[in-house]
């Protein structure tokens, strides 16, 4: 009995002897931590990514798409036919961004809004979901060519849900169901309201650079439409406050309605456009 008592009383001594203070506070609870930076750029290539500009920050993005490389040295691989888009995006909050842009492709002005609904969490919600809307004004349409033209015909709208998942440190994917409407379409057979499904992804090759690709599957393109689904592949290079994206795409337009509805190139014919997006944070 006595010995039992001694053993019983000794037990806490042994228990204490092996404890480590750090183990006592160590935990693997990472719940509620958000996954960071599924994408580096505000765009994957053509599609908007789920990244937003932070509160009170202004990002300036200049994008270029050269003409088709198909014509070779004659247009210096498209340099002579380059189009440019200048885009300012401002973060009202970390989750709400507004922007304005002007593209030389069809002289389009647009205003954009991007807002985050949910964020991907570690051991929690698996996706980041962001909404994106744009209102576009096509100022290239001329009354001489289209006598019945009214202001409303210049307008176009975009509504998009961006769903991304950072699968691991290097690999992220995105799905982008898109609805867009152009009040004026070039072909009568094409319905003004159009639907598309965007797919995108990035794979990091190093800490500061990644390969990116996106593809837009148009769901109700007119059967005789000359336009093609856009496929784009590029590289992202990040240097401090800049993100530099270089890519090839078979769509020259940079607005969502443009690259989904009016991509004319064809990868199989080598009819693709070289381009880059350059962003700078202020």
């Amino acid at each position: 009995m006595k010995y039992l008592l001694i053993i019983f009383l000794l037990t806490p001594l042994f228990v204490d002897a092996q404890d480590d203070l750090l183990d006592e506070i160590d935990t693997n609870a990472t719940e509620g931590q958000y996954a960071t930076a599924a994408f580096k750029g505000l765009k994957i290539v053509n599609f908007e990514s789920t990244k937003l500009v932070a509160k009170d920050e202004l990002t300036f993005i200049v994008s270029h798409r050269f003409g088709s490389v198909k014509n070779g040295i004659d247009t210096f691989f498209g340099l002579d036919e380059a189009v440019t888009r200048i885009h300012f995006v401002y973060g009202i909050t970390d989750a709400i961004n507004i922007g304005v842009s002007r593209s030389s492709f069809l002289k389009i002005y647009d205003v954009t809004a991007k807002y985050r609904l949910v964020r991907q969490e570690e051991n929690g919600f698996p996706f980041t979901i962001v909404g994106f809307n744009a209102l576009l004004i096509n100022t290239a349409l001329e009354k001489e060519n289209l006598p019945l033209l009214k202001f409303k015909h210049r307008l176009g709208y975009t509504a998009q849900i961006l769903i991304s998942r950072k699968i691991n440190t290097d690999f992220s994917i995105e799905l982008a169901p898109t609805f867009f409407h152009d009040n004026y379409v070039q072909m009568d057979e094409q319905s003004n309201s159009q639907f598309a499904l965007g797919f995108g992804g990035r794979y990091k090759l190093g800490k500061r650079w990644s390969v990116n690709a996106d593809y837009g599957l148009h769901l109700n393109r007119a059967s005789n439409s000359p336009f093609k689904n856009p496929l784009s592949i590029g590289l992202d290079l990040e240097t401090g406050g800049h993100v530099f994206q270089m890519h090839f795409s078979n769509a020259q337009a940079m607005n969502t309605n443009g690259f989904l509805g009016q991509g004319t190139g064809d990868w199989l014919d080598g009819d693709v456009y070289f381009g880059f997006n350059l962003s700078r944070r202020f």
Binding site: K2, L5, I6, L9, L10, T11, P12, L13, D16, D20, L21, L22, E24, I25, D26, T27, T30, Q33, Y34, T36, A37, A54, K55, E57, D94, N168, T169, K207, R208, T239, G240, G241, R281
Partner: protein, 180 residues
Amino acid sequence: MKKIIYLIALISINSFAQSKYLTKTGTINFEASVPSVEEVKAENNSVTAILNSDNGEFAALVFVKGFRFKNALMEEHFNENYAESDMYPKATFKGKIKDFSMDMLNSELEFKLDGTLTFHGKTKQVNDVVISLNKEDDLISASGNFKVLVSDFDIKIPRIVRDKVSEEVQITYKFDLKKR
């Protein structure tokens, strides 16, 4: 024999009652700024720290993603490119306060702390870190600061930002440890 049992009983009661002081809301700041460029500075307000007041052993743990920068992009780059917090989510410290004694804690007093700091998967011995301790009722406040080099933790600062980020990092900490 009875005396021995009493003695053992006393020791074991004592060790049951071993006193530990704990916080889950400690603060760690670090700064790697270079004068006259944008400050590189972050704060974490959810540090867990524990002190064993019997022997002066001390440990702290922090989730690297919990460091908040003023500039969101800097925070993203810190996590993605420097700390690689997806791969190394935690930073820890484990050590012992030299010549520690509870009896001396009635006024603010400086002690020296030896231990190991683990960050970015690398462990570095740090010695003679100054730690000021002060006890008021059931609360021990501990604070101090020390310096480490980013190269000690296998973190490379790329050439283009070398004149914007200091190689030397100043770490400041403050813990209000409550008796558990």
